[in-house]
Symmetry: C2
Subunit: 132 residues, 2 copies
């Protein structure tokens, strides 16, 4: 079902809808994420999208985009390399870096890049396959 | 501002509100998270809350609960150890495990436990302090 080297890709855009949903969910209204002037005073182009919006896209990728729905996330790590901004198109790429059939585990490496192919975030995910 | 060993704690409850917001945000409707019968057939007590809901609570912790708002997340990792269910009260504990003043970085270890003190998830966060 999985093979080392398998590639997946998705496109995500953090519009006002996702941005507002995330604030409603998390209640994180830190000024870096909500105040353009504050973010600019810290050297950013404008308010920075919460990094954990990307983790919700990881949830979608694992839950909805794999060849099986019988999955559960075991571990996840993410490194935020560059800011992402409102309405930016993000190109998500993931690669199977390990399939451990005897323990029903699959490992992925992933990156999110913006339209200039700058890496916004990268990391790893390990999932378990839920047997029948 | 930070000292190694500093402790923080918060309580989070994933009610229908957070659960529905997360699904609206992520569009992850995997049956493990949305279908009680499916989740039970896989050995769970009922539908399992998305692990990445916890990552939104991490966003709140870093953005809103620290002694300064001048912060940005650099890296995050999380290991999901046990399922969490709707309306379960989660006890979040975090500890400063490193404060690197010369590079303005702070490291935390955290755990989420349920009311029986079972570890639901644990991990690490590294943040940067945004200087004026």
């Amino acid at each position: 079902m999985f093979n080392e080297g398998d590639l997946f890709n998705e496109i995500f855009i953090t519009t006002e809808t996702e941005y507002n949903s995330f604030i409603e969910l998390s209640k994180d209204q830190n000024p870096l994420h909500t105040d353009n002037e504050f973010a600019k005073s810290k050297g950013f182009k404008g308010k920075v999208m919460h990094g954990n919006i990307l983790n919700s896209y990881i949830s979608y990728f694992i839950g909805e985009c794999l060849p099986t729905k019988n999955v559960i996330i075991h571990t996840q790590d993410i490194k935020f390399k560059n800011p992402s901004y409102l309405n930016e198109k993000l190109f998500f790429d993931a690669k199977v870096t390990g399939f451990y059939k005897s323990v029903n585990a699959v490992e992925f490496k992933f990156t999110f890049k913006n339209i200039e192919r700058v890496v916004i975030a990268k990391g790893r995910i390990q999932i378990g396959l839920l047997l029948l």
